[in-house]
């Protein structure tokens, strides 16, 4: 196995991890600050991808599509918070799961009504379609490097927002004691709407970025949602740093596992059996990782103690 191939796979793992981070950061904000399990987070991801595809098709500009994705997902998030989520804060998690599961169905069928049942076309912008040479003679697509950069930018923005701004102070305070900050005169319901819209916009951004690599279709959000939950459980609920570390761990483990495990088994088994066993184990690997982390740290890597 050439080390260039390994380098390429590490980059792939980083890129995959970064897209998971953009998705998971919104989920962990909402879950951590508002105590809300939002299964419809995957639907907001889908909304972002569809908005980006529709606007990019109409205007020919991927950048405008990205703006539309952020706006549409944030608007959908704010609307959902005002109409549905707001009534669920005081309820237990089971009610939240039921209601947000209903939202998944509504979003999916609503999207089908508007856009039809066939997948939409969304491609990467021509300016980012090339590839850069890697040492060792291989090449790596520019767009995937841009995705890594966007993920880093989102991480920096969130650290700044939470750590350095007034809104961040309110978010942290709301996480610790929501009655107290309401008593101090912060409009908690407006704060929650803003956080929810922010989380939704991040999901929409992830959907648009990934939609250009994958297929924009109804139901695209649910598989990613499961992975996003794995990420925030590993990282610790409510922690942006945890989401970042968790996402990179999951991305690297998954990508490298799929690549290395079948090769490792080839040393002891004949090729097609090795492929079968290796692939089966590789698809379990992130869940094994999650179980391992939870045994070692039941609250996740950066979960609040106590």
């Amino acid at each position: 196995m050439a080390w260039t191939l390994l380098l390429e796979q590490v980059l792939n793992g980083l890129q995959y991890g970064m897209t998971l981070f953009v998705m998971a950061s919104g989920l962990t904000l909402v879950f951590g600050v508002m105590g809300l399990i939002n299964l419809a987070h995957g639907s907001l991801y889908m909304v972002g991808a569809f908005a980006c595809a529709a606007v990019a098709a109409a205007t020919g500009s991927f950048a405008l599509g990205l703006v539309a994705a952020l706006a549409a997902a944030a608007a959908a998030g704010a609307l959902v918070e005002l109409l549905v989520i707001r009534r669920l804060y005081a309820r237990d998690h089971l009610d939240q799961v039921l209601a947000t599961f209903a939202l998944i169905l509504i979003f999916s069928e609503g999207t089908r009504w508007v856009f039809g049942s066939f997948p939409l076309y969304l491609s990467i912008p021509a300016a980012l379609s090339g590839s850069v040479p890697l040492p060792g003679g291989s090449a790596y697509p520019v767009y995937r490097l841009v995705v890594i950069a966007v993920g880093l930018a989102v991480a920096a923005f969130l650290f700044w927002l939470i750590g350095r701004t007034r809104l961040g102070v309110q978010i942290r305070a709301g996480e610790a004691d929501r009655e107290m900050i309401a008593a101090l005169g912060v409009d908690i319901s407006r704060l929650y709407t803003a956080i929810f819209a922010l989380g939704a916009a991040l999901a929409g951004l992830a959907g648009a970025l990934v939609g250009a690599l994958q297929s924009v279709q109804v139901g695209m959000g649910e598989p990613v949602l499961i992975l996003a939950f794995v990420v925030i459980v590993i990282g610790g609920i409510g922690s942006i740093r945890g989401a970042l570390v968790g996402a990179l761990l999951v991305g690297l483990t998954d990508t490298l596992g799929r690549f290395l495990l079948p090769q490792a088994f080839r040393a002891v088994l004949e090729p097609s059996a090795a492929t079968g066993v290796g692939s089966a184990l590789a698809s379990m690997l992130i869940y094994v990782l999650m179980a391992g982390v939870l045994i070692w740290r039941p609250k996740g890597l950066y979960g609040a103690a106590g």
């Binding site: 069928e109 049942s117 994958q214 990508t255 090729p271 698809s283």
Partner: protein, 375 residues
């Protein structure tokens, strides 16, 4: 909600008076990720019924791509609606849940898509007719095409589930060259950067892949973006009218195998493609042609025998005396098609991506399991 809408849609689609000569229960996938396939099968089927003015009542229900829902719908259709014939199922796992029980209750089942090997070999049944293909067929044809194209070192990949392993087995059954690599991906996987890096490093001269639905769209886009230019081969599923618009230019020029193509030159097909476009405003897909053929097979049998006389009706179905959009069409001893499978190429026809036939991969192909069928 979907079920209600589908039921309402079904109610408005009644062809003819309340007491129709033939009652058909169509269980198909109309919501979720696989809905495009079910919609095309349904639309093709209903178009044929409408064109023939046949006295058929079609009850359409959505299985939501869930075997348990499909089983429930089948019970309801058999026991309360009293359907004579069931059809419509897209996915093999759902067919395996529904078909054996329906056959045990003396109903006919006409498969417009799924062709699991279990129903083609030892598990074949007199009342089961497959109007599409046995699941391995298009992959076998891809293997045969790889030989004629002179490929000798193929990298093969498919998702790690039964239809995926069948696909690779089907390819290897006819392909005579060496394997540069064999990879199973996760079902529903959307990022193929890792696999594409392996393909780049493998030194392969061709890549065969079976990745149905959104998986194929993702793979094709990422493959085109990666700059790897090793030729691709695949079954027609990843290159058909339902997903080509979403893949875009990344699919141009790719050779794929299918038993049908919009440019297939016979009278029935020309009329079908034209009338389907007129009726629905889009090009028909492989699945639409299969739905259309399924309905025409049924209509041909209705002209020869009464469905109440099961032996006569079965004999009438077996004759396959209808003008197939595929041209020649006949049933083998296990009631699966014996048909030509073509090599197609994705082309850009005035801004619309579609397929053109470039050759025949396998002539009069039956399937590998027919010999095990005893009936």
């Amino acid at each position: 909600m979907t079920r209600l809408i589908a039921a309402l849609a079904g109610a408005t689609m009644l062809a003819g008076p309340a007491l129709a000569e033939m009652k058909v229960g169509m269980i198909t996938t109309l919501s979720g990720g696989g809905a495009g396939l079910g919609i095309d099968v349904r639309d093709g089927f209903l178009l044929a019924v409408k064109q023939a003015g046949a006295d058929i009542e079609v009850i359409v229900k959505d299985d939501e791509q869930k075997p348990d829902v499909a089983v429930q719908l089948a019970d309801e259709m058999i026991q309360s609606d009293g359907v004579d014939v069931l059809t419509g199922i897209i996915f093999s796992n759902i067919a395996m849940a529904v078909v054996p029980a329906a056959l045990a209750q003396d109903r006919f089942y006409l498969s417009p898509n799924a062709g699991p090997s279990a129903l083609a070999g030892a598990g074949c049944s007199p009342n089961y007719f497959n109007v599409a293909w046995q699941n391995d067929n298009l992959h076998e044809a891809a293997g045969a095409y790889a030989n004629t194209a002179g490929y000798a070192n193929t990298f093969i990949l498919a998702p790690n589930y039964p239809a995926g392993t069948d696909a690779l087995t089907g390819y290897k059954r006819f392909y005579e060259g060496a394997l540069a690599g064999e990879v199973y991906t996760q079902l529903g996987q959307t990022d193929y950067a890792g696999e594409i890096a392996q393909i780049r490093a493998s030194g392969a001269d061709s890549v065969f892949f079976f990745l149905p639905g959104g998986m194929g769209i993702a793979f094709l886009k990422q493959y085109a973006q990666s700059g790897v230019d090793i030729p691709l081969i695949g079954p027609g599923f990843s290159f058909d009218q339902d997903i080509l618009p979403a893949v875009g230019e990344a699919a141009l020029g790719v050779r794929n195998t299918a038993q049908w193509s919009p440019d297939l030159d016979n009278e029935a097909n020309r009329a079908f493609v034209e009338s389907f476009q007129a009726e629905y405003g889009r090009l028909p897909s492989l699945y639409a042609s299969q739905g259309f053929d399924t309905a025409n097979l049924l209509i041909s049998a209705m002209g020869k025998a009464d469905v109440a006389d099961q032996d006569a009706f079965r004999a009438a179905l077996r004759e396959a005396d209808f003008a197939s959009t595929r041209g020649d069409f006949a049933f083998g001893p296990n009631h699966h098609p014996v048909q030509d499978i073509y090599v197609r190429e994705v082309v850009d026809a005035d801004g619309t991506l579609t397929n053109r036939i470039v050759g025949v991969a396998l002539e009069d192909r039956a399937d590998a399991y027919a010999a095990d069928c005893k009936m």
